[in-house]
Each structure stands twice: as C-alpha cells, then as structure tokens.
C-alpha cells in the first residue's frame, strides 16, 4: 500500500465509515451523521466562545466608553445593552434568537450582525477564491513537474523557491509585494484596499491583486510539496510499474492513474487551506487593510462585541466543518474502492 493510500485509510477510519456495521446503522448515511456531528460541534463552539468572552476582562460598555467610563455612565449603558443580566440568561437569549435566524445587533454600533458580517464574508470569499483558483492549478503543475523531474535542476529550483516562500512569514511576503508593486519600484497596484463599504471586493479587482498574490505565494509551497510527495509515491507504486510493463504510454499513466490517485491528500490539504483562508488571513488583511472576516473578528474581540464575536466565530467554524465534509465526499468520488461504502 502506498503512503498516500495509507493516509487515506487513516482518514477514513477517523470519519468512521461503518464498513462492517450492522444493517440498521447503515440506514443513516455517514455524511448525514457527519452533518449532525458538525451541528453539535458548532453548539459546543458557541458555548466555548461565550465562556471565553466572559473570562476576558472588560465588556462592550467599557470599550464603548473607554476612559469616559464613569460608574454612572457604565450602569446606564450596561442596562441598555442588557449586559447586567446573568450570564446564563444572556447566552440562552442569544442562542434562542440565533437558531431562529436572528443574529442580533452589534453592541457597539447600531447595525445588525448580519449587516456587518455578510459583506465582510463576501470579501473574504472573493479573496480566498482568487487565491485558491490561482494557487491550486499552479501548485499541481509545479508539483507534478517536480515529481516527474525528480532531483533534476528544475525540481531543485522549484523546491528551493517554494521552501524560501514557505519560510517567510505572510506579512513579509505582503510587505515585499507592496514595496515592489505599490509604493517603491513600480506603482502599479494599490497598496491597501479602499473602496466604499457598500461595494464588494468582487467589484474592486485591483484591490485583490496584491493580497491574493501574497496568499498564493504563502499557500502554494505547501500544496506543491504535497503534490510532489504523493505523485512520487504513486509513480513508484506497483500499479504504475504494472501499467508500464503493459506498455501503456507514460503520459496516460501519469494523468489517468498516478495523478488521479495522488490527488487524495491534495484534496484534504486544500480543504485545510480553505479553512485557513476563511479565518486565518488576519495578517494579510491587516497589511492590505482588506475588509475581511479575520479583521472583523479581531475588531469584535477588541470591542467585546459578543453577538458579533459569536456569529463570526460560528461562521468560521461552520466553514471548517463544511469544507472538510466536502473534501471527504470528494475523496470518496476519487477513490472507487470507497464508493458505496456506508452509503
């Protein structure tokens, strides 16, 4: 068994596909149970977030009033915001509204959580899509070249370059691009995103260029190395050897057999990267003043804006759950052996 396949079977174990399960358990497909598990996870996350915000010093009233927070003003504002109620009551109220689709109002300004969250989420999706749509084909191409030309000068060149970018923190990549393309050598692209809040990043493609490019440079090395390693495994496998002995053309072996099988770890790697892109690009958002979700969550935390923290964090957790589920579904499609199992 190749290491790619063994990785896969571990993965499948971890999502507990009941290969030998009883007929009655098979009535509920594994992905339905995964969705149920996902919902339970989100519920647990919401409790954790709530507890964490209770532990943080300071509350929304304090952060609104800042150093003007006299006890008198604080009391009025806390009553207004409902912060003087018992913690459990606050949580239950919030969760009751949340499940009915009412995400509540931001505590620090007169806008609904939805109104704040949706545009930011759209911007993040725009940026993440741009990055992944460029990074994925590019990385598969470069990773495949590396694997086919293993240890040749091309492979070494790609490896050294991608390792270099891998070693650089994202903000260094971002600032480097700004110096080259925005403020210093060439002034071609904007250094930061400034567009009216009612517009989305989709309608301001120029603002996406440098942040997306930074992300491509930050995530590609990881995918390139994944592709290279798993393709090398596949090319060394017995079925490829068999195919070669049967005289099947090398190109067909590569595309139809080796590459296809080596995609399984890449799919999971990409899922992890997508989850990371949804929430972990705070640094890039900061450098480019990009109005995305990571920045929104940071702002919400520093303002102790509980409904906004809850909704944003839950959204990110949901992305994580959904993306991983999709990746597993895709892996089942890619792996004939698993088709029909447990379904």
């Amino acid at each position: 068994m190749t290491s790619a396949e063994s990785g896969l079977s571990e993965r499948m174990d971890s999502i507990s596909i009941p290969v030998e399960g009883s007929p009655r358990r098979r009535v509920v497909p594994w992905w339905v149970r995964r969705i149920g598990g996902g919902i339970l996870t989100l519920f647990a996350v919401s409790i954790l977030i709530f507890l964490a915000t209770q532990v943080l010093p300071g509350d929304a009233a304090k952060s609104i009033l800042g150093r003007d927070a006299t006890p008198e003003k604080l009391e009025i504002l806390r009553a207004e915001l409902g912060l003087n109620r018992p913690a459990l009551e606050q949580y239950l109220d919030w969760s009751r509204n949340f499940v009915t689709g009412d995400f509540g109002m931001s505590l620090v300004n007169d806008r609904s959580v939805e109104e704040l969250l949706v545009p930011r989420a759209m911007n993040t999706i725009a940026l993440a899509l741009c990055a992944i749509l460029i990074a994925l084909p590019l990385s598969i191409l470069l990773g495949s070249i590396s694997a086919i030309r293993r240890d040749g000068p091309l492979d070494q060149g790609i490896s050294v370059t991608s390792l270099t970018f891998n070693a650089l923190p994202e903000f260094v990549i971002g600032l480097g691009l700004v110096v080259i393309f925005a403020t210093g050598v060439m002034k071609i692209f904007p250094a930061v995103s400034i567009f009216p809040p009612e517009e989305s990043a989709f309608s301001n493609p120029m603002a996406l260029v440098l942040p997306a490019l930074s992300l491509v440079l930050a995530i590609s090395p990881y995918i390139i190395r994944l592709v290279r390693a798993s393709l090398i495994d596949a090319l060394d496998s017995e079925y490829v050897l068999t195919a070669r002995l049967r005289g099947i053309p090398e190109r067909r072996i590569l595309v139809n057999h080796a590459l296809r099988n080596s995609m399984v770890p890449v799919v999971h790697g990409t899922a992890l990267i997508l989850a990371y892109l949804a929430g972990g690009i705070v640094v890039i958002e900061y450098v480019f003043r990009f109005p995305g979700l990571g920045g929104l969550l940071l702002e919400a935390v520093s303002a102790r804006d509980l409904p906004l923290i809850q909704a944003t964090a839950l959204f990110l957790a949901a992305v994580y759950v959904v993306v991983n589920l999709l990746a597993d579904l895709l892996v089942v499609r890619l792996t004939p052996r698993l088709r029909g199992v447990g379904a």
Partner: protein, 522 residues
Amino acid sequence: MSKTPLDRRSFLLGSLAVGGSVALLSACGTTGGSAGSASPSATIAAGTPKRGGLLRVGLGGGGPMETADAHVGILANTDLARSLNLYATLFKRDPETLAPLPSLAESAESDATGSTWTVRLIDGAEFHNGKSITAEDLIFTVQRIFEQKGAVAELMPWVDPAGMKALDARTVQFNLKSPTAIFTEPFAMIASGIVPIGYDPANPIGSGPFELKSFTPGELTSMKRFENYFGDVWLDELDFVSFNDDSSRINALLAGQIQATEALPPGQIAAVQADGKMQIIESLSGATRFFAMAVDEEPFTDVRVRQAMRLLVDRQQMIDQALAGYGEVANDTFNKYAAMYDSSLVREQNIEEAKSLLKSAGKSDLTVELATAPYIAGTVEASQVLVQQAKEAGVTVNLKKMDLPAYFEGYGKWPFSGDFFNGNEYFIQAGLNQLPTSTYNITHFNDDEYNTLYKQGVAELDEAKRKDIAAQMQKIEFDRGGNLIWTYAKVVDAVAEGVNGFVPDKYGLPLTSYDFARAWMS
C-alpha cells in the same frame, strides 16, 4: 476689561476668519504657522488657495465604535476629525497661541463679575439642512450636552442648563451658577459643536465646513463641502479612511491612495521622508504623555515615594528611546504652551535624591506594578524604559501589559498607570484631571489648597492675578501631585505634494487640529 481675553493679533486673526476674506485669511494662516515655530516645514501654507479636489485622509485607531454624534462617544481620532468638520463650534483655537477665537460666535462678553455671559452668534450662519442658526439652537445644544453627559459638560460646571435666555434671534444670555473668566474655553473644545433643535445623531446635521455623505464606522467617512459654510472651504470632497495598522496607513500614503495622514509613528518618519514627494508637518505641542500614581494607594500615599519616582526618570532618554526623540522634556506640569504655564518648575534626574527619599520613607527596595496598554503611540515603550531606569534607583517596576478594553476596565482604579492629554488651557486641564470631580483624575488627587485655588482662579477676571494663582497650583502639582509628566509630544503629519494649507499646531491634535476647511489642493 470683560471681553473675551484676546491679544490684538489673535483678535485680528479671529475677525478675519469670521469675515472670510479669501487671500487675507490664507496669508494669516501662513504667518500664524511660521511665526512661532522652529520647524522648517512650517511654510506649507504658502500660495493662493483654490477650490476643488477630493482629499483622502488616513486616520489611525478607528473601529466599530466610531460615532458621528456631536457630543458623546467621541474617542477615536476619526471621531475627533469627523466632529471638528461636521460641527462648527462657538470658538476655535488658534493653532499657535491656543487662544479661543470667535468662530460661530461673533462675540462673548461677560458682566463685571463674570457671572453672566452674553454670546452673540454671527449673522447668516446656516445648518447643513439650510435652517438658520439661532439662539434657540445654541440653548438646545448646551442642554443636550448636559443631558447626554457629554465630555465638555464637566468642563463648564458654571453653566446652568436652565439658566440660558434668548435675548434675540442670535443672542443668548448665560446666567451662570458661579462666575468664571474662562467661559469661552470649553466652547472651543471638541464635542461642543452646535446642533439644530431636534438633533438626531443618526442624521448628523451640523454647521461645519463639510456635510456628511456616508459613514461606516471603522471603514470610511465621505463628506462634501457645505456650500453655505460661514467661512472658506476649498476642498470639494473629504474622505476619512480608518486604519488599524500604521504600516498600511503609511503604505497607502506612499502609493498615492491617500493624500494626507496623521501622527506618523516615529519609526516610519524616515521612510516617508525618503519618498521625496511627501511634505512633513512637524508640530511642537503642549500635548502630554505621563504616568499616574494614585495618591491614595500604597505605596504612593507617601509623597516621598511619588517624588522619588519622578526623580529617577531620565526624561530625555525616555523620549529618545520611546518616541525616537520626537518630544520635548516635560517637568511634571501640563501644557508648556499654555498662557498660564510656569516655566520655572524644572525637574532633572537625581538618582541619589530618589534613593534617599525612598530610604527615609522606608521603601528602599520598592516594588510597584505599572499598568500599561497602547492607548497612545509610545506608551508601552516608555513603560519599558521606566522599568530600566527605575532599576538604577533600586526600584522594581513590574509591567502589566494589556489590550485597550482590559486597560480601560481598570482605568481610574490602577494604582500606577498612565494617560495623555492635548495642550489644554491650564484651568481646563485642572478640571479634566486634578479635581475630585474630574472623570480623568486617575491619581485621585484631592488637595484642599489646590481645590480652593482652582475656584478662585476660574473666577478671576484679571489675567495677571489668574496667572499667579495658576502658578501656585502648578507648584502644588510639582511638589505633591501624582502625575509623572515626562514629555510634550511632537506631532509629525505627512501630506502628499500638492496638498496645502496646514500649519503646525501647538494643541497636539494632528493636521492643524483636523481643520480641513483650511486645506486646498494645487
């Protein structure tokens, strides 16, 4: 003399500002800027102003809490800038002398004792919605400031919200609770903007040089010129862009996406200068940065400990290391550029004396905890410098570093923390943080002699006598107060080539106290 205390030159400036003569105003702006400033960049206001253009300004430290309210919640720099451009105030501070000059007020006169003041509004001024500004609007505004417990309410304790009377359409008589000589001062402050009767902060109508087009907290504020403003406005449009990160703010300037930005972090000034196409505006100012020891908390209850802490600091070194040299040495007294400042009070580092004071207080191996947060640029760094300097005198300072909400959670309760102020008039400053009633009195200073002098001073119409009282008060702060005031900050702003009109400002607010009515593009 019972008229607003103004010297001839600033009075002339003020009447011109109100009169609105185009060329003369700009000429005065230039004179005002270069006359008293040592900075070579002060000639930025040269040339003949012309109309037109969109100026995009990058401002730091904004966030979701930003507000467009005229009177409450004005905390972030973006709030200050928005407030000062949407709402006209009765008086406006001269950037050089810091004297309050008539703006929306034509005059303010007191009776012989200072217990009744009469404010006359200029003729023909309008709100953004076209309504004339009347005496009733002024009365409504002052009442709203008190009802909403706005920041300036505390600075005019003599004003009786029920004691105002409209004498005619543009004259209001203020019958005060107690006499005062500095009636006009709070009306030159931010958050004292005049609003129309029935004002709704959701629809922020004022009479400032710009009217609001759109506002998204933490992101973007778009404004356009108010065509019927009572003074001159040159720009067609004005945008404020909020930034969380200083580097991206500077990058936006260098990339030409914004044309002006405020308060460059000391470490970034060289990068902006190197660009060659940026103009740097340096302002020496009376804005202070300081540490605060609570006089009613151990170990600071002993005045010897407080004085020892003040003596162990090498202020110049602190400025060099924490602010890259962008500051002037302060001596535990406020605003160096205030008319009432007493320059005879000087404190230099003296480790031996600090040690001997601590020894006599029985605190030779003193350990204290300093609460700090990045509430203004350089504070955390200065706290770290203090840790080092204190070691020399055998004092251990443990830093308690926090984010802003955590810091403000304990604001006013930390035994040892820090704060900052702009270059306020002396008695205003005393009202802000040295009286038992002051919101910002984080040292809990409550000195009977000082409190009595304050009451005498604010009511003293004779300027020389008032200055004498202020000197006695500063001596008390110097001898037994709780503030360790180490610097008057130097504010460094940058504007792109072709942006004109700004002059250095002693108040300490960036970009000539965000006075964008004076800005024009060539």
